[in-house]
Each structure stands twice: as C-alpha cells, then as structure tokens.
C-alpha cells in the first residue's frame, strides 16, 4: 500500500502537470486538451512512482519503457518529461513550433525520453510488444508500459496485438486504457462501441483490472498488481473524464483537439488554484 504522503505528493504533481499542459497548449494555440487531461494521472503514477528511468540518461539500459499509443496526448507526456528533468521546462513553450523537439505527436528521434514514434493510432501496443520481447531476449528486467485511448480500440491492429501479447506470455508488459468515453466525433459508444472492454481483454487472456483513472492510489495498486502478475500481460482499464480537472472542459468531445483560449486558460488556472 502506498502511503498517504506519497499519494498526496503525486496528486500535487498531477495538479502542476495539468497547469503545465494547459499553458503549453495555450501557447502553442494548437493541440489536444481533453485527452491530455484525462491521461495525466496515469502518466503521473508511471513517471513519478512506478517506472525506473533516468532523465539524465534517457537510453539507460535498465530503464522501463513507456509508449504513448494515443500520441495526441503528447502534451501530457512532454509535461511529465520536463518535470522529470529530461529537458528544461521552458522547452514546453516551443510545442508544435517549427524546429522544436516537441512535435505535435511523439518523436523518438527528437525528444529525449520518447521511446518510439506514435501518433497514427493503433500502433503503440504492437511496438510495446516488440520492446517487451527485446527486453526478455536480452534478459533485462525492464517493464514496458503503454497507454491507449478507448476510441483507439476501434483500430484493428490493436486486436492483432491484443492476441499476440498473451500468446507470448508477456508479463513484463502493462497496457493502460485511458477510457474517457469520448472521441473526436462524439461518444465512443455512439461512434463505434468498444464496450465491454474488460470482458474482451479477459477473453483474449489478459489479466484485466478496472480502476478510477483519476485515483492515484488505485492506479498505484493496479500497477503493483500488474507487476506481480506472472505469465500474462495486464490491461488496466482506467475510467477517466475527458478534460478532467477543468469543469468547463470535462465530458466534452468538442475539446478533443482544441487548445484553451487565453480567457479559458485564466479561468482554468483559477479553478486549479494556480491563478
């Protein structure tokens, strides 16, 4: 059980990261707000508690791997990487600018701490399987984490990969679905339903956990559970709210790919206690 002090500290970190995400998106005047805010608590749990990594040595052999399959949540990833010390926080102001190492979607060749290239949906789980297999072949202890979106589950390749990970018995692989129930065109359930996700992955022979994706304690417990699971990969279905933390963004598909305006930023920071 993680102690309360740890959880409180992580919650404070997640709050700061939300602020940084909103500021960088506002400065860029472009990018994906809703899905970055829904994913940030899971990313906080990974980058600031669960994963072994060394910001001073991004290619450290003993590191765990993280793949952001829903690459449009890049602002959430960049916020974590900057906070952890992979690059200076000032760089966040260059998001999506010409020549920036912070591309619209994650680019392993440009950004320290980014493991693979994602952005075209449905490919990250396959890449994560490859990383997990490579670690196993090289007899490295490394674990591989991958974050997907629930709308992304509509991509056929996800299910090819869903078959493969348990087939290879990859217990060093842990996938998390940021299940915020919304995609660009509206509700996932209305656009093309993917429910029930839990039974689907159970049927594909995964170890499946469902948690409140904004409950840091629950996330840490699920990640610990995943680490102890032998012989199969774990899928954590994190129930989340798109736009979480900023009430006027919450549950709104319209804020999928829209940055906060100047006024919205002021209002949002006030609501987050960072006016």
């Amino acid at each position: 059980m993680p102690d309360q002090a740890t959880i409180t500290e992580l919650e404070q970190t997640a709050l700061q990261l939300r602020v940084n995400i909103l500021k960088m998106l506002n400065t860029a005047n472009s990018g994906h707000t809703g899905g970055s805010l829904s994913a940030i608590d899971a990313l906080t749990a990974l980058f600031f508690h669960e994963m072994r990594h060394d910001p001073g040595n991004p290619r450290w052999d003993g590191r765990d791997h993280f793949v952001l399959s829903k690459g449009h949540a890049a602002p959430a990833l960049y916020a974590c990487l900057a906070e952890a010390g992979y690059f200076p926080p000032e760089d966040l102001k260059t998001l999506r600018r010409l020549g920036s190492h912070l591309q619209g979607h994650p680019d392993m060749k440009k950004t320290p701490g980014v493991e693979v290239c994602t952005g075209s949906l449905g490919q990250g789980l396959s890449q994560a399987i490859g990383l997990a297999l490579a670690a196993r072949l090289a007899k490295r202890e490394a674990r591989t984490y991958v974050l997907l979106g629930d709308g992304e589950m509509q991509e056929g390749q996800v299910w090819e990969a869903a078959m493969a990970a348990p087939h290879y018995g990859l217990d060093n692989l842990c996938a998390i679905v940021d299940a915020n129930a919304l995609q660009i065109d509206g509700e996932v359930a209305k656009v093309m339903g993917v429910a029930p996700l839990g039974p689907k992955f159970l049927a594909f022979n995964w170890h499946v956990l469902e948690v409140d994706g904004h409950d840091i304690c629950a996330l840490l417990q699920a990640l610990a559970d995943a680490k102890q699971t032998k012989g199969k990969p774990t899928m954590i279905i994190a129930r989340t709210v798109k736009g979480k933390g900023v009430p006027f963004f919450e549950h709104k598909a319209s804020y999928h790919g829209v940055p906060p305006s100047d006024q919205e930023l002021v209002d949002a920071l006030a609501l987050l206690g960072h006016a």
């Binding site: 791997h65 793949v67 680019d107 392993m108 060749k109 493991e115 693979v116 290239c117 994602t118 952005g119 075209s120 449905g122 490919q123 990250g124 789980l125 396959s126 890449q127 994560a128 399987i129 490859g130 990383l131 997990a132 297999l133 490579a134 670690a135 072949l137 090289a138 056929g156 390749q157 090819e160 990969a161 078959m163 493969a164 290879y168």
Partner: protein, 309 residues
Amino acid sequence: MIATRDAYGKTLLELGRENPRIVVLDADLSGSTKTGIFAKEFPERFFNVGIAEANMVGIAAGLAAGGMIPFASTFAVFASGRAFEQIRQSLAYPGLPVNIVATHGGITVGEDGGSHQSVEDLAIMRSLPNMTVLCPADGPETSAAIRAIAGYKGPVYVRLGRAKVPVVFPNGCDFTIGKGVTLRPGSDMTFVTTGLMTAQALEAAVILETAGISARVVHMASLKPFDVDLLLQAARETGAIVTAEEHSVIGGLGGVVCETLAEGCPVPVERVGLRDVFGQSGTAEELLIHYGLTPGHLVEAAQRVLRRK
C-alpha cells in the same frame, strides 16, 4: 537456378548463428518466405505473429528500438500494401533499423494470380523518406544484400521472388547499398535493370550483338539510394536507355531512371515492365511472355530506343 527466397533463408540462418541480436518475424508464411529455416534452429528468436502483418511490423519496430536486428517477412503484396502505414509510421518516420524482406514479388508468383502479385511495391516503398529499397538479381546477390543490411542504420525493404532464377553473380560477391554494377560493357545503348530482369537483359545483349548492336547492361539492385552517377555515365556514353523490371513502369526502376535522366542527362528511354495493369494466373514463364518481359521483348525495346536516338 536458385530462387532468391531460398538464398535469403540460408543466409538468415548463417546470420543467426553469427549474431544473437538477429530476430525474425513472419506472418504465417514461413515455409514460403524461407524464414522457417531460421525458426527451426532459433525458435526463441523467431516470432510467427499469425496472419497479422500490421502487428508484425509494429513488433519489429519495438524489437529494433529495444536493440535487436529484426528481419520481418511476408509476401511483397502484404508487406508493402497491408502494412504500409505501419512501415511508414513505426519504421520509416523514426528511421528504425528493421529489414522488411518481402518474397513473392512481381508476376512470377504465378498461379496464385493478380491478388498475390505485387506490381507496385517498389514504387510504394521508394516514396517513403528514410527507406532503402533493394531488388537483387539472383541467389548470390541476395545473400550478399542480406548480409549488407544486417546492422544497417535504417529501414530496408528487400524484394525477392518465388521462382528459381538464373545465377548472374558469383558466390561471395560484394554488395554495396546505393551502388549499381555494370555487368556487360556496350556503347550503343544501355539496359538498366533490376531483379530477375537483369538475367533477361544479359541474354538480350547477346542477341543484339549478333545484329551488330553493342548493348551495355547496368544492374541496379539498389533502387534507393540510387546510383545516379553510374546511370548518368551510361546515358552520356551510350545515349539511349531501356529499363526493365518485373513491376509496373510507374514509380519503380523506370520511374527513378526517368526522374534522374530528366534532371541530369535527357536521352531517349524505353520502359519495359507492366504497363499499368495487374497480373493474373499462369505459370511464371507464361506470364513473363504475356507481359512482355523476355529477352525478345528487350531486343525490340532496344531497337525502338535506337531509332529515337
């Protein structure tokens, strides 16, 4: 006569014995692509992903990012078509060193018909930034090419064939990515060829010699990077070019030759290949005749281009 895929399977096994970082992936075609030879000796380094090419490419990307040297194989039509966007996003965009070795390229797939005969794969792969595209002529050159790409810095697409083809190169020949080879000197015109059409052009050159025509044969296994200097030299020295490929005349060898000559040394060109059509069922031999890919057709193309000189 040896099929390029057989040379691939044998070389892969040798590489596997030499380097523990070599890993191989296949999508339920390991008997046909010959990766099964590697699989038998190194089951722990072989991943048959089932009939799921997109996932295969993604896993290969992850393996490369994790420090392995992956070779991923399936038929050319599936590698370049079904998994195109995975190759683009997961391999070419980051420039990850994954070798896509596609067998059953072109019409010599034969009886399976047009659905299984890729006539566009070289064009598709050539269009991707960071990609290297190779199409060896025979078994020995395939072995050399496979050795050359193991440990190469970026993604590579290699097109191999199903059918047995004549041997052009000696065993143990060299292979340099980006370099062409002049296989026969000549001064009146040049055949610029790739894959199994190189052997056809060498035959055509012999026929032309009896008619008093001196035909050069330049083999270009490396479609990208392309040996621009060797092509321009042939164009300057012989003044007429015939390209020959077991592929559409659009975007492959004919494409790169015309693009290069238009900028560097405009001379008459005849392109021999599939004229913007799909293939069909038949034996490999019948199909080469039907689609105009024989030494006789190359002789006619040479005569046409000489009239335009």
